[in-house]
């Protein structure tokens, strides 16, 4: 499996999943209320749409960095990548579920927010797994690499899973709080990326 085809397929799935998010936005059927009223009533749909867009966008950025730094792509990495993509394609579904139930409220809103947070949590685990598998393959291919550096990076990467696990718990306490946590996490990662130095010299395709 060349890195090129792994990236092309992953990019395809990410691009489609992000575009299908638009199908989760509510369409007015009844015309009983004004459009402005309809949109303001349905604000959770638009907020969930934006959160899911940001999360998939950040995954795309991180996925690129992870793969471009890899030296060997192993079958386990490809299988974990499929697990990541399974979570990605489920994002539009759980986004639409959460948006629908946030409007209705009640215990179901908590369940929907927990499902949403659970899928995001699954992505964080898949990322940590992908990092680990690619890092080990790189170590095996080039024994001169420092194991300590890999272990340190792993600790940092694995810690990234913790807030996503906590957010699943938060969802059972308050669905709105879970949505806010997802926004905060996405914003944190975006700002973190913004602060980083220019990624690379542009290279022609």
């Amino acid at each position: 499996m060349s890195k090129g085809r792994l990236e092309a397929f992953s990019d395809g799935v990410l691009a489609i999943a992000v575009t299908l998010l638009a199908l989760t936005l509510p369409t007015p059927d009844h015309y009983r209320k004004s459009l402005a009223n309809f949109i303001s009533t349905n604000w959770p749909s638009y907020a969930a749409y934006l959160a899911s867009f940001l999360i998939i966008g950040i995954i795309w950025l991180n996925h690129h960095a992870l793969i471009s730094g890899a030296t060997v792509v192993t079958r386990p990495a490809v299988i974990i990548n499929l697990g990541l993509l399974l979570c990605v394609i489920t994002v539009p579904y759980v986004t639409s579920l959460m948006a629908q139930y946030l409007r209705n409220g009640g215990w179901d809103a908590n369940v929907a927010a927990a499902l949403y947070s659970g899928v995001m949590c699954g992505m964080a685990f898949a990322f940590a797994g992908l990092f680990e598998v690619l890092g080990r393959a790189a170590l095996a291919a080039d024994p001169s690499r420092s194991y300590a550096a890999h272990a340190a990076a792993r600790r940092r990467f694995s810690a990234g899973v913790i807030p996503y696990v906590i957010c699943v718990g938060v969802a059972f306490a308050s669905a709105y709080a879970a949505l806010a946590v997802q926004f905060a996490l996405a914003g944190y990662y975006l700002l973190d990326l913004l602060g980083a130095k220019p990624i690379t010299e542009a290279t022609s395709t």
Copy 2:
């Protein structure tokens, strides 16, 4: 971030958004009127479909020109590009909203046309921002480039935002006029592109 992967992901999102436009076209449910009648009654849907197609097509053309001229892709450029893509994936939704409300008329049609024009306006701003960020990065990487040339291009580029801002105001006066302005803008850019000289020698993939 290589230019190749930035283009691949953006092209993917643009290609999907443009194809999903087809889902905004109205399907006859009732069979109460003839198909010819149904289609002529729903002409705003077809007009909005065509306008959105042209706008996304022009974005694709300009996006290519912008990225292929870039020398350095920075993280801020990637983030602004995500903002542009957020607008792009929202196009099918606002297209369907505007088409639906143009048929019904009233104040809601104005609101829908303003939302539509607002998303197009957001794309124009993202483009101007992308141009600015890429231009500055190129200046920083190669100090021998002329700042005056960049500033002149920036003035031209920023001016392109103005008609889109005006169109949002037009929408509140008349939804149909806003749709007409969007068509005129798309037609102007297409003719402008048609008049330009052959873009480049073809290069094999």
Copy 3:
């Protein structure tokens, strides 16, 4: 515009349009009849699905041959290509319209079949236009090319438009006959392609 990005965007739109065809297949809502009965009643949907799949597949094959033979990609070629893509993304819509009205019959079935044939006709015209524009650009870039060879190829290519124009007329006489003509045309081109010699040595990506 490099050939690579023109092909990538066109391939993306073709791949998505062909996959969205699946959304035109009828889903049983009522459970009043058996599934086998439902499927046999809705055979026009499956026939139209297959015809549209074959037509888009053949376009993809021919598009590849056309672009890979081009030496210069001009802006007019890019604009005509956008026109071709506009037809392509409309295919799922007219496929679903025709399938729906073939089941109902009457004059509307003729109108729907004429719309379907019209979109296919538009694609044939866009192809002929693309061929002409790319051929002229190649002649202008390399005056040693034979104009006679270009003109002969153009005659052959333009003639390909004729059956598609005729099919629009056939649709007004009989919707089923138009569908049969579309199948026959797709089958003819597929067999024609099958008979051709191996396309090219495989080249690594």
Copy 4:
């Protein structure tokens, strides 16, 4: 037809088909039961979703291996590849049919499971055909290749069709058993792939 464009188009279709699977997941309309109840009642939808995802993922992995090993891409191979893609784009449709009828039960569930298994069977046949056509072309291009090795690989590959044919029969006995067989087959192939040695050194795009 370069291998690159064949892979790009196939990857595009596979990526879109896998992402459209999300549209087959059931959305609660009535709010009569709790969300947790709704999800547990609709477990066949989620199981079918997962099975289809795994099957398309494995096709992607095998497709890559098949094409990357090919030396000559012939038109017959391109045509068979189109047949494979026709099956792939039909997967979301038969997934949704099977999920819907598994909930309702009765003879229709058997018919739906047989359609589902039939599409999977079609993919297995297309794969065996693609293998045969690419292998023969490689033999013709390079007579020093061993025919015996090709014949042995063909026997192994053709045998892979048998369980898919059997599964169509199983569907008529029990729809649930057919779903279980599909899972078992997908799991077998995934484990088989996992056991294999690192696929390749990573190569930059």
